[in-house]
Symmetry: C2
């Protein structure tokens, strides 16, 4: 990092933090209609700040819900263009009585700043803007072209941004996306998330009798759709968690030996994870694979709920005509939602017991994604992180999906560099959310360096 820029960051850090606190004081809770005006205020504050630091074409993009904020700076002809993404909306703060200090009165304590949205995602959005400001203020330009797209509906499904991205607007033309909404694997450990699992979310509906029947009168003759579903579900996975759908694993691309070796060296204690994060008597899953492999790089199958029948208190003796199971599968690189769903549907129909009709519906699907370690923007990010954190980046994956990564890939063909600075204990979506102040500062410096490294 040029010494001018570094000096600017260090001199202005107290002001950056004061500004972040002002941003955090806005209760931009996207899911609560009484905070609609606050969401707009947060968007307007971002737009105003982007203008102030010298970004151009700044404007709000209206959606059916909360507005997005757009800005760009495109004066490095021949150099790559980055699309910066983040979100200004936050989760509701409940339960309020578990907060040590009020969620919308940002408070410094133990080297952290505590507030709803501190790390998810206002602090990280502010770090992006401060990185841009530091370049623009100290050098009058940015090392590469940058577009910024910030949304206010991430916590409520992000429909507005998906609809916008799917229209492939010319002003989102870029070479890669930079997403600052993830975390370090451990304190001080620079981390890039390079893979996400995909998903198919399905419903298996089973119909037995024409109408609900009395289990006294008809029990022993009428098919029970819940028992049929139990028989089906019990045959989808063995008791070790291995999925039994024929061909399901055929196309999967396993992690490379280098990736596996790197995961083994990560500071991860399965017993600590079981006791503190999961809290079950025992962890489950396929023998021979570590927890990180099972949650990042193996397909899974889960049941989320089984609507139908009687779910009230007490005893109602009904054989329901119909019951449903909400079943999802996580997919890993190599697998496609289309083929996996076809395999699933065929197998479910094949193993369905006699006496019932089975229907399988696809409710939602998302592709898995993986960025190869030799992607030039990943390499640039790695170089930047080494300069700031003084050590090699660890490449991790996430077992979940980040919908915007899929949207950028599917609609715009953009790879996403997921470079975030949260910590695993930052209490996302929970009381006492925090952002480490050192990570805020090093995050800004990392983004500054990344802009330089991405230039060439």
């Amino acid at each position: 990092m040029s010494s001018f820029v570094l000096e600017y960051v260090r001199q202005n850090q107290p002001r950056f933090l004061d500004e972040l606190k002002a941003f955090l004081r806005i209760p931009s809770i996207s899911t609560l209609p009484e905070h609609n005006a606050d969401c707009r205020s947060a968007a307007e504050m971002l737009a105003s700040e982007l203008s102030r630091i010298g970004m151009q074409n700044v404007r709000l993009i209206e959606t059916q819900g909360h507005p997005m904020v757009y800005a760009d700076w495109l004066h490095q002809e021949g150099r790559p263009t980055a699309l910066f993404y983040g979100h200004y909306d936050v989760q509701p703060p409940d339960p309020l009585d578990e907060w040590l200090t009020p969620p919308f009165e940002p408070t410094e304590r133990n080297g952290n700043i505590y507030a709803r949205g501190a790390v998810d995602d206002k602090g990280q959005v502010w770090a992006q803007i401060k990185a841009l400001e530091s370049h623009l203020a100290s050098t009058g330009s940015l090392p590469i072209n940058v577009r910024v797209l910030l949304e206010g509906e991430e916590e409520v499904g992000g429909e507005g941004i998906e609809s916008y991205v799917s229209s492939k607007p010319a002003q989102l033309k870029a070479d890669f996306a930079l997403i600052s909404d993830t975390e370090l694997f451990a304190p001080g450990l620079p981390t890039l998330c390079v893979g996400l699992r995909g998903m198919i979310y399905t419903e298996i509906s089973v119909r037995g009798a024409r109408t609900d029947l009395h289990s006294g009168m008809y029990g022993g003759a009428a098919p029970n759709p819940f028992i049929a579903l139990a028989q089906i579900i019990a045959r989808l996975k063995d008791e070790q968690g291995h999925i039994l759908i024929p061909g399901f694993y055929d196309d999967m691309i396993p992690p490379t030996p280098e990736e596996l070796a790197a995961w083994k060296s990560l500071p991860f204690d399965e017993e600590h994870y079981r006791a503190t994060e999961v809290g079950s008597p025992k962890l489950v899953g396929e023998p021979g694979y570590s927890v990180l492999e099972r949650t990042w790089a193996r397909p899974t199958l889960d049941v989320h709920g089984m609507p139908g029948g009687f779910i009230g208190a007490g005893a109602k003796t009904v054989i329901p005509a119909k019951a449903t199971a909400k079943v999802s599968m996580r997919l890993v690189p190599g697998m496609t939602p289309e083929k996996s769903f076809h395999q699933f549907e065929s197998f479910v129909k094949q193993i369905a017991p006699a006496g019932v009709e089975v229907d399988v519906q696809l409710i939602h699907a998302g592709n898995p994604c993986i960025l190869p370690p030799d992607n030039p923007y990943i390499r640039a990010a790695t170089r930047a992180l080494r300069r700031v954190w003084g050590r090699d980046t660890v490449f991790i994956r996430s077992g979940g999906s980040i919908p915007i990564v899929g949207d950028f890939a599917n609609y715009l063909g953009l790879p996403s560099v997921m470079m975030g600075f949260g910590l695993p204990d930052d209490n996302l979506h929970a009381p006492n959310e925090k952002f480490n102040l050192k990570n805020f500062e090093l995050g800004i410096e990392s983004l500054i360096c990344f802009l330089e490294e991405a230039a060439g």
Copy 2:
């Protein structure tokens, strides 16, 4: 039947029917609070009629809900005492637009009377009262001692009457109960129900993680309580419907060869039953047993609902911390709820997969019951039915339980003669409920003869 009594019945039949219509016009829907006054009107009409015909000690017995009606006539010292039971409350009439004539405007059509409550149970209660009236009016006495206990909460669980019966009041002292709330197996076929299945209704609760978890982040490591439940349920029965709980069948007393032979001779068409009553692609259940055996004399296991997790529309990717299955078993003579529940609970805990905690609760229990064909009141009923219907009685069972039968047996030690005159297509609890007019008349005559035969 003495010719005096017979003549009285035949001469007064038109009036009996008019009175029944007046009774049916009262919308005594016990489950709807706006009909509380109607329920009381129906009880008062019964009390007034019981007084008018010469029954004694007539009174309403108040409950937390709708009142019961009591009356007696106890002037045959040395002869048995019968406890007549029926209920004056009815089901709601919805869906209203499927009724050809309004549910509370009783209408004669095709030899039937159509109205809500026509057969269940107002018409049968009225037949009981008219049988008593016919004896009292034509002879000045009854052949045996009779107590009458009519309730107004049968359709809402019968808590009031159970609480009253459980207090074992002296005024319910009797030798047997007569319950007129069942049906003939087929038109013209005199029928006595002599066996009921018992039940245990349970909840299996499975807990995996401490809190709900995201299936992307934790899928592959965190236990899924619905999958655990599916694995448990799938091991409770085999695919043929045979229950796999060790020892479950050990104590059951199978039907006698005579009973089985009699059932085989009943007019019952399994394919017609499948198509018209159940409506499923195929019937299920243990091979080697007929539908009547499977529903009357074999234990069964059903799942009624599986609360927990996400049951809304769409996709929510939660691994629920907890899920529950409502599982009931029907028990047959020889089995007891206590032992069956113990076997079930032990087996469920034994087969529970690793990683979850399982709890099994008993929600409700009822004993199976059976009356031997040589019970003197069953023999008396059989003789009475032969006199009126001109053919032998068929002895059937019911797969369900009739709670009042259990209450009379458990608290008062009374066997119940279940002599009813409905037909299988009478649309109980459905639109266009009806009662066959000939059955109403022959029902009164059957009850008259039964009083005579029970005298010894």
